[in-house]
């Protein structure tokens, strides 16, 4: 029984958008990363959908990138997705393409949520990659345009995960929050690490959306992956 019309149906409600960004380059197939992600995404979807409060306070989107970037699941409440699509290995690893796409998509999504009456908490991007960027030009400029709060009102936070050939310095530079860059632990296979990273992302979304006002809670390092702390001297 609706009391008011739905034109401003969320007037005053706060929502926290999450963008899960997965590397789909060819190497992700070779190291088992594609299978690991495809096995883990349904659990992420089911866990968020099963919590009605987190479902209402968060939005998720799935973005993939290789030579190009594309939106596989547009930003929506998890319960509005029937089934998470899988990722498919193809092409190289162009970071710039996905950062350009994210800037455009996050701005459009944010404006749409605002027009529905929501107050939008700063979006978070979970960035997962297994290799170094293969961009001909620089990727740092689109990255800065996406994340610079002074120039972009819709600037996003980025939490970055690197496995296999991803360089820890690069992953550290992609991440924008202290404690928000992760790498697979020494000796941990890429697929095994990814199978731990995706549940950590799920827990982060659940904890973030479980508070009375949604607020980002960083993932915690776990079995198979750890925080990249470049203040630590590595004698290895």
């Amino acid at each position: 029984m609706a009391i008011t019309d739905e034109s401003n149906y969320a007037d005053g409600a706060k929502v926290l958008p999450f963008y899960i960004v997965c590397d789909e380059s060819a190497s992700m197939d070779q190291n088992g990363g594609i299978d690991a992600i495809n096995e883990s995404l349904p659990d992420l979807h089911a866990t968020i959908t099963a919590d009605p409060l987190v479902n209402d306070k968060t939005r998720i989107a799935l973005v993939s990138f290789s030579s190009e970037a594309q939106v596989l699941v547009p930003l929506c409440a998890a319960a509005d997705v029937d089934e998470m699509p899988g990722v498919t290995a193809t092409g190289s690893t162009k970071y710039g393409a996905v950062f350009e796409l994210l800037k455009r998509v996050i701005t459009d999504d944010g404006r749409m949520l605002r027009s529905d009456g929501f107050q939008v908490i700063r979006p978070t991007v979970f960035f997962v990659s297994d290799g170094e960027p293969t961009d001909e030009g620089d990727w740092e400029t689109p990255h800065a345009e996406l994340t610079d709060k002074n120039s972009n009102p819709w600037a996003a936070n980025i939490i970055a995960f690197g496995v296999d050939s991803a360089d820890r310095n690069t992953i550290f530079r992609v991440a924008t929050l202290k404690g928000g860059a992760f790498e697979s632990s020494k000796g941990s296979a890429p697929a095994a690490a990814l199978k731990k990273m995706i549940p950590a992302i799920t827990k982060s979304i659940i904890k973030s959306g479980s508070q009375s006002v949604p607020q980002l809670v960083l993932p915690k390092e776990g079995d198979g992956f750890n925080v990249i702390d470049l203040d630590v001297i590595d004698e290895g």
Binding site: M1, A2, I3, T4, E6, N8, Y9, A10, D11, G12, A13, K14, V15, D51, P52, L53, N55, D56, K57, A77, A79, G117, Q119, S210, S212, V213
Partner: protein, 325 residues
């Protein structure tokens, strides 16, 4: 002859009648409570999904209710909000009412938040009533002195219990951390008239934390509980056991206005940066005059997306016999 069994009618497809929905409503409310696995009992009982008091004193009609939030229903914890409305008579035989509300702030998962808020609001309202029952009049200076003294008494009283006390922590008081049963506290005292009078009455109020006080009129909501410069204090560290001062104030309440005390489970959806929100517009229209008890509870049980915290509202209508539907 055996009675003919009626064939069971399928209820599939029949719409589930929801609470009052503002906007599209929440995911939580889309499934019946008996079917969703989202609406859990507190294992120690006394969920307090709904608590409500209504009544009159002098020319005032007062309705007070707390509703357990969806967050605590999902986690199987009891409502951590509370209220207490008491009445008294001064030494000069002037009727008055004391209202206290609290929002338990125990650390995540602590089972003692409800104990803190309930015990604090009950003790505070009753002790303040006793204080003013012995006074000849209720004035601002005495109110500040009394509330500070009573709050100190309440802080100490709540920190001592016996194992079987209602909702009390299982650990001994010596081992307990007050952070586990800390609460906000917002309170008001106002006269209840026995004869018609047109002039406004003075409402004395105090607050620790983020449970605000409003006046509601035909023009809408006006937040009363702000600092003198209009700034809303940062409530992050303002709880009963962490606050170093109480914010006090007074406001004049005309017979055309309504006094409303709420916890943030309601106030977060009334106004934002001076703008009335959808829930605020709805309740502003409904609470201009007294409502039936079942309507009041239903009003507070509004379903709005993301509004999942415990809710409390105490609404005070002056000059009650003049307010008719």
């Amino acid at each position: 002859m055996a009675p003919r069994r009626r064939k069971g009618k399928s209820i599939k497809g029949r719409a589930y009648p929801t609470a009052r929905t503002i906007g599209t409503g929440s995911s939580f409310a889309k499934k019946p409570w008996w079917d969703s696995d989202w609406w859990l009992l507190d294992k120690e009982g006394h969920n307090r999904d709904i608590a409500c008091d209504v009544g009159t004193v002098g020319d005032l009609a007062v309705a007070a209710a707390s509703v357990r939030g969806n967050r605590h229903r999902l986690s199987g914890q009891r409502c951590e909000d509370s209220f207490c409305v008491t009445t008294g008579t001064t030494a000069e035989e002037e009727l008055f009412v004391v209202i206290a509300i609290g929002d338990g702030l125990g650390s995540d998962g602590s089972p003692y938040s409800a104990y803190g808020s309930k015990r604090v609001t009950y003790l505070f309202a009753n002790k303040l009533t006793s204080w003013f029952s012995a006074a000849s009049e209720i004035v601002s200076e005495a109110f500040v002195e009394a509330s500070e003294e009573v709050i100190e008494e309440v802080r100490n009283a709540v920190k001592s219990w016996t194992p079987d006390d209602y909702l009390a922590p299982t650990e001994t008081p010596a081992d307990a951390d007050p952070a586990n049963f800390d609460t906000t506290l917002t309170f008001a005292v106002l006269p209840a008239r026995t004869a018609a009078a047109e002039q406004p009455r003075t409402v004395l109020w105090g607050t620790i934390g983020d449970s605000p006080i409003f006046k509601l009129s035909a023009q809408g909501w006006e937040m009363v509980s702000t600092a003198e410069d209009g700034e809303i204090l940062d409530s992050a560290t303002r709880t009963l056991y962490s606050a170093t001062e109480i914010l006090h104030g007074e406001t004049e309440l005309t017979n055309d206005e309504v006094l409303v005390l709420t916890t943030d489970g309601v106030s977060d959806f009334l106004m934002d940066s001076g703008k009335t929100l959808a829930v605020g517009a709805d309740l502003a229209e409904r609470w201009q005059r007294p409502v039936r008890i079942e309507s009041f509870v239903s009003d507070l049980m509004f379903d709005f997306i993301t509004a999942d915290d415990d809710r409390t509202a105490v609404v005070c209508w002056p000059d009650r016999t003049r307010r008719r539907n």
